[in-house]
Each structure stands twice: as C-alpha cells, then as structure tokens.
C-alpha cells in the first residue's frame, strides 16, 4: 500500500477509492427505484412499519374478542384464527426481520463500516421491490374469497390446507406460501449484500474487532438468515405442492367430511422439523441485531466503553452457531424420542450461557457509567429488563417436563411476546430515537418520546405479566372463547378484560410515536452532525443526513475501536474512531 503525504501526525490520507456509484438522475431513481442503501433502508423501514400497523390492529381485534367474549359478533372463530395467524406472521417475518436486517442493516452497515454503499446496489434495490411484492401478496390475501389463512403462524399441516381451516382450501394459504417464498428470495438478495459489504467494503483500519457491535449483530444474523430461510422456502414450496398438485410430502391419509382425500403417507412431523429448523434461528435472527444495537445504545448513553467487547463478539457468534441445534425444543409435545428431547433441552439451556454473559456485560457497562436517561437509553434499559424476564420464562419452557403442561397455554404467549415481541420492539424504538437525527437531521421530540416510552413500557408489563398467570392456571392459547370450564375461575375473564383495555391504550400510544416521527421531520430541533457525541463512523459524516456516497471525497480511516468513551486524559469524553492516536508518549492511557 502506498504511503502518501497526509495531514496531521504524518498519517497518510485515506486513498480515495475510485468507486463507480450509480448516480440518480431523476426523482424516481433517487427516491423510488433507488440504489442508495440509505434510501432502500428507509423504504424497508416504512413498508415494515405500515404492515406492522396492520398487525397491531389485528392484535386489538383479538384482544377485543378475548377481553369481551360475545360482545363483538363480527369476530367469528374463523376470523379470530385469521387475525392470530396474520398478526404472528407479519410481526415475526415482515416487520421484525425486515426492519432489523432490511431497514437498519441497509442504513447502518455502509455508514458504520465506512463504505460508500452496499457492494451490489442494483441487487439491493431488487431486494426491496421483491419484499414489497411479498407484502402486497400477503395483503392481497385479506381480499380474496375465504380471506387469509387461519392456520396459525406455524402453518402446521395437515390442518393448514384442509377445508376446516380458514383459507385452507381457498386462496389464503396459497398466497401466504407464495408471499413467504417471495420474501425469502428478496431477503437473500439483500442478505448477500449485507454479508459481502461487511466482508469487502470496510474502511481502512476497520478490522473486524473494531466494528461496532451493531454491525456484528446484523452481520451474524444475516449469515444465519441466509442459511435458515432456505428451510422455510423448502417447507413452503413442498406444502404448496401438497395443496395445489396433490402430492403427499406432509399430508397423511385423511378422511375429511366422510371423503377420503387423495393424500397418503405424508408426514406432518417432517414439516415441523423443516419449519423449526428455520423457526428457531429466526428468533436469534431478530435478537442478535437487537443485542448489537442495544450494546451501542448503552455504551453511548452511559458514556462508557462496552464491558467485555471480545466476549460480546464471541457470544454473538456462539449464539448464532448454537441456535441451529435447538430447533426441536418447539416439538416436545409433537411426539419425540425422549433422548432427543434430552439433547435439545440441553442445547437450549446452554444457549442461556452466552446470552447471560451479554446481560452481565450490559449491566457492567452501566456500572458507574455517566448514565444519560435519554429516550433511546430508556428503551435500551427497558429491553434489558424485558429480555431477562422473557429469558427466565424461557428456562421454564426449555425443560421438557415443565414444557409439557405449559405448552399451548397463555404462558407460552406471554413468554414469546416478552422475549421476541416486546424486547426487540423496544430496541427498534430506541434505535429510531437514536438514529433519527442522522436520518433526518432533526431530533425527535423529547416530551412525546418520554410519554411514548412510559406508556409502552408500563403497558407492556401490564399486558404480559398477568398473561403468565393466566397460562399457569391453564387458560389455553388460540381459543376464540373458552366459555365455562372447571379449572379456570371467573376472575380470569376480568383479568382478560383488563389486559385488553391496556392493549388498546398501549396501541394508541404508538400513534404519539408516529405523530412524533412526522412532526419532528419539520419542527424537530436541528441535530447537528453528532448530537449524542458518539464515536462510531456514521456520526462523522461530512453532511447530515449523509449524501449519496456517504463520505464526500475521502473515505474515513479508522484508528481505534468503537467504544472510546470517557478515556482518562482525553479532552472530550469521547474519541471518534477516525481520530488518530496523539503520539507515542500519550499512546495508551491507563484504563
């Protein structure tokens, strides 16, 4: 590498890479068919939010039915199943996965590693448009005869494609499967970009161990998603053939309404294996970016270097690897050799170790930190609490003997909403409050943010804590109406009504958030380039919001890791990654 004469300290200037960026010529190519990863990220985020709102409304409808059974005649059992299914599928795949990887991944990866753009911008653009198509196909299923599928988000055969399930013999399930396959194709295009960009386009000096944990989380999750989503693709394709062309991959011999179906010998268990081979890594595909982002939020807003950075990186990689050998813990009640159950219970509990390391490291980062209780920090702290809560109930469910009675009760619903619903959503909120100033150049309104936070945080607990109790006393999940039972006391109905009212309030609080997003776009306080005094590269761009190509003429050069906060002897309490070390004498301050 050539050594050019450079600015201060005799350090050579960043070699200006002669990159060929596709420069947009019109409004359409700049904002619609954009190849700039930042625009694509925003497109992903807006689409995911829009479809997420649909899922939010569906959850309201479900809660109305559960809280006040018999009051809302328009919610039939069939519709209730459809709401459950679409709520779950949208939230897990089309909102969380798309927002973390497509949204934050696209916006943050090139900026945080000091690249101009993704390495394959055209493929990146296709990725978004195929995702949008997948969302549209999904939405279309609401308007087809028979409505969307009501098979539950796990789409277990044989019921998923039988006439007793809403959408099973109509268009619902077909559109669902096609939409999933499109999503996977689109995601693979995006995922190739995220991985190869991190591998190939890092700025000079950006070694892997200097990358912010956000990038580690997104990178590892993308690698996992690229390897796990094919399993969903395979199961969706095979089920589509069972449904449309009468094959028997998953369909056993069945008699339906006195009619013998033409299927024979297929195995629903085969589907469950394939589905959960995707389904469990999926949990960590959502969680790892959340882990990464929350590490950065905590470090920035507590003005402290992240505790145990290496440990954090290793934990991310180990969790990613382990998550591929735990899938069958979703199948304890499906019938399984007890030795397999033992194996999968063990691997499941082992995952708790690296996860717990991460939690300890977050706490130790906070320890004696200069904690600024900004809105992003509040959400980050709420994430830690919620994730620990959800993780603890996960230990219950990971044990075969405890899982068997709790399976298919509201306890499971409460568990996965805490750990996979509420916790990652808090990170998404925190991340939006944190990076909105970079995206728009303006701060989000603080008062509205605090209102949004407290209602969401307290509300989420009021919703999901009582739900654990409901599950323990045996209230089953997926029931339209439980009616009178010998074991569920009448007070459970009161609790359900309370949960439903709270859910409506928390949902309404999200309108404050959306209003804040729109209002602050024009009226927010100007943010400047680096409102949080953060070290990472995205805050060191020459313009805010960053222009196409991100860095102007010269690419940044990275001299240090991402967490130089409150370094003793330094003039400010943060040192950007682009700042060279002063000199040999002041080389390494004791820390």
């Amino acid at each position: 590498m050539s050594i050019a004469t450079g600015p201060a300290n005799g350090i050579p200037a960043a070699e200006v890479e002669d990159v060929e960026l596709y420069h947009p010529k019109s409004w359409i190519t700049k904002y619609v068919f954009a190849q700039d990863a930042k625009v694509i990220g925003i497109q992903y985020a807006l689409t995911a939010t829009a479809i997420g709102l649909v899922a939010l409304v569906l959850s309201w409808l479900m809660r109305l039915q559960l809280g006040f059974p018999g009051t809302f005649d328009f919610i039939t059992p069939a519709e209730y199943y459809q709401f459950i299914t679409m709520h779950g599928m949208i939230m897990v795949v089309y909102l969380l996965t798309a927002l973390f990887l497509g949204g934050f991944g696209n916006y943050l990866i090139p900026l945080m590693i000091g690249a101009r753009d993704m390495v394959f911008p055209y493929v990146n653009m296709l990725s978004y448009w195929i995702y949008l198509l997948a969302v549209l196909v999904l939405v279309a299923s609401f308007f087809t005869p028979g409505g969307p599928t009501g098979a539950g988000w796990t789409l277990y055969p044989p019921q998923a494609i039988l006439s007793g399930t809403p959408g099973g013999q109509d268009w619902g399930i077909i559109l669902m499967l096609v939409s999933l396959m499109l999503f996977i194709i689109g995601f693979t295009m995006g995922g190739l970009n995220y991985v190869v960009t991190v591998l190939q386009a890092r700025a000079r000096g950006m070694t892997l161990m200097r990358m912010p944990l956000t990038i580690w989380g997104i990178f590892t999750a993308t690698v996992m998603a690229l390897l796990a989503f094919p399993a969903l693709f395979v199961s969706a394709l095979m089920m589509l053939l069972d449904r449309m062309l009468g094959t028997s991959f998953f369909m056993p011999a069945l008699v339906e309404m006195g009619q013998r179906l033409q299927h024979e010998g297929g195995s629903p268990l085969l589907f469950q294996h394939l589905f959960w081979f995707f389904g469990h890594p999926e949990v960590y595909i959502v969680a790892l970016p959340a882990f990464g982002i929350v590490s950065d939020l905590i470090s920035v807003h507590a003005r402290r270097n992240i505790f145990g950075y290496r440990m954090m990186v290793w934990a991310i990689v180990i969790i990613g690897a382990l998550s591929f050998v735990v899938w069958a813990h979703h199948m304890y009640v499906s019938g399984m050799n007890p030795y397999f159950g033992f194996f999968f219970a063990t691997t499941t509990l082992i995952i708790a170790v690296p996860t717990a390391i991460k939690v300890y490291n977050w706490l130790l980062t906070l320890w004696r930190g200069d904690i600024h209780l900004t809105v992003p920090m509040l959400f980050a702290l709420a994430f830690i609490v919620t994730f620990v809560n959800g993780g603890l109930t996960g230990l219950f469910l990971g044990n075969v003997v405890v899982d068997v009675p709790l399976s298919d009760t509201m306890f499971v619903v409460a568990h996965f909403h805490m750990v996979m619903g509420v916790a990652p959503i808090f990170v998404i909120f925190g991340a939006i409050y944190h990076w909105y100033p970079k995206v728009t150049g303006r701060m989000l309104n603080e008062a509205m943010g605090r209102l949004h936070f407290w209602v969401s945080f307290l509300g989420a607990y009021l919703i999901f804590f009582p739900m654990h109790y409901l599950g323990l006393i045996g209230v089953p999940r997926r029931y339209h109406e439980i009616g009178e039972t010998a074991f569920v006391p009448a007070s459970a109905a009161t609790l359900n009504a309370f949960i439903s009212v709270t859910a409506l309030i928390v949902g309404a609080a999200q309108i404050v958030f959306l209003f804040n997003l729109a209002w602050s776009l024009r009226r927010g306080r100007p943010a400047g380039d680096n409102p949080w005094n953060a070290t990472t590269l995205e805050w060191q761009t020459p313009q805010t919001p960053p222009a196409h190509g991100n860095w102007g003429k010269e690419l940044p050069v990275v001299y240090r890791w991402a967490y130089d906060y409150s370094v003793p002897g330094a003039p400010r309490d943060f040192i950007p990654q682009t700042e060279p070390h002063a000199g040999p004498a002041a080389g390494e301050p004791a820390r």
Binding site: M1, N9, G10, I11, P12, V119, F120, G191, L192, V196, L199, Q200, A201, R202, R204, G205, M206, T207, L208, M209, V223, L226, L227, P230, A231, F233, V234, L237, M238, L241, L245, G246, T247, S248, F249, P252, Q262, G265, G266, S267, L270, H273, L274, Y309, R310, V313, W314, F324, V557, V558, Y559, R560, W561, Y563, P580, H581, P584, G587, E588, R591
Partner: protein
C-alpha cells in the same frame, strides 16, 4: 435432518477457519497506531463479485441440502415409498452437464491467457450443452411419466420432479449470467472484466455439476 446438519458443520468450519484469522483474540481497546504508521487492514485479494458468488453458492447449497434432507427423511417415514425407475436419460444428461462444466473450464483457461477465440468457443459449447441438459431433463420427465409416475403418484416421483425442477431453475438462472458474459465477449469487452465474468460462470457451473451429482446419487439411492 442429518444431511443439513453435516452441511452446516462444513459451512461452520469454513466460517470458523476464516474467523480464526481475523484476530478475534486481539484487544482492540489496547491497540494504538503509531504516528506515521498505517492502520491495520486486510483487504481481501478476491474480487467482491467472487465472494458474492461463493456466499450465494453456500445459500443455494443449503437449499438443495434441505431438499435432500427432506427426501431422506420422507423415504423412511412411512412405508409408502416406491423406488422410481431411474430414467436412462439421466446418465446422458449428467454427461451433458459435465461437458458444459468442461466448456466453461476451457473458456476460463482461454481467458487466463487472453485467447479470445477460445473464450468464445468455450462459452458457446457450455451454453449449448446446458440447453441440451435442460431439454434432456425434460425428456427424462417424459420417461418417468411414461413409466406411470405422475407428480402425485408417489413421494419418490414427487421429489424427483421437485428436485430436478429446482436444480434446472438454478441452471436457467445461470444461463442469464452466461448469456450476458457471452454478449460481453461478443462485443469485445476488456479482458480483465471478461476474465472475471467467465470465472464466475465457471465456478457456478462446477457447483451445479457437483450439486447434480449429489442429487442424482440421491435419486439412484431412492
């Protein structure tokens, strides 16, 4: 699920090997860059497109391995599996695919020494034998139909159509890239660019050949 676990173990070893060379043991908070020194970087010598292709091959490999996993599991899950009479056409098709792989290998060799005519011949040979392979697969389908095995007759035939179709679609996708490379060669593109395109095609075709050999073995086994 044994097949996919083994596959992931292989991919995992590659990732582990790569990670082991990335200095995961370093303590970034202690690193200082002496003034005048360059910050440590390790730009990969491989072209970006090549890495992209290898990542894609890893994903496509996972997809095909999952089909293989499903095939092996379904085979033993209920007693309804009937062996599919292997259409003789498949042996000939395997030869055709090997030929197209060979053609691209020759094109790659020609690109290395800058022999444009050789590139053209190799590309055309690969394209023609690939098209013949796809047509041959279609004929093999006809043979299987003639034996009385429709798509839904037996899981063995369902898997046969499914797996050959998925593999064929991957080849068809590759044909687009091959066509563009051919166009580039026809228009006399710069040699380094052409060399890269040809190499990418060759790598992908070798992958498709290996994948086909594995899938064909699976079909013979079933």
């Amino acid at each position: 699920m044994t097949a996919i676990i083994i596959y992931l173990a292989l991919i995992g070893s590659v990732i582990a090997w790569w990670l082991s060379r990335q200095g995961l043991m370093t303590k970034p908070w202690l690193e200082t860059v002496p003034p005048g020194g360059l910050p440590a970087t390790e730009p990969s010598p491989l072209p970006t497109a090549k890495i992209g292709l290898w990542v894609f091959i890893a994903v496509a490999g996972a997809l095909l391995t999952l089909f293989a996993s499903a095939y092996l599991m379904r085979m033993h899950m209920s007693g309804d599996w009937r062996s599919l009479p292997t259409p003789s056409m498949l042996w000939f098709n395997t030869l055709l695919l090997a030929l197209s792989s060979l053609g691209l290998h020759r094109a790659q060799m020609a690109a290395r020494i800058g022999w444009r005519e050789g590139i053209g011949v190799g590309l055309v040979a690969a394209a023609l034998s690939s098209l013949a392979f796809l047509a041959g697969q279609y004929l093999a389908w006809q043979q299987v139909v003639a034996e009385g095995f429709g798509l839904a007759t037996n899981p063995s035939s369902s898997f046969f159509y499914l797996i050959t179709a998925v593999h064929g679609l991957h080849l068809a996708g590759g044909m687009v890239a091959l066509g563009r490379t051919g166009l580039r060669a026809w228009r006399g593109a710069a040699l380094p660019q052409l060399r890269l395109s040809v190499e990418l095609c060759a790598t992908y075709w070798h992958f498709l050949l290996v994948a086909w050999l594995v899938l064909f073995g699976l079909l013979l086994h079933g």
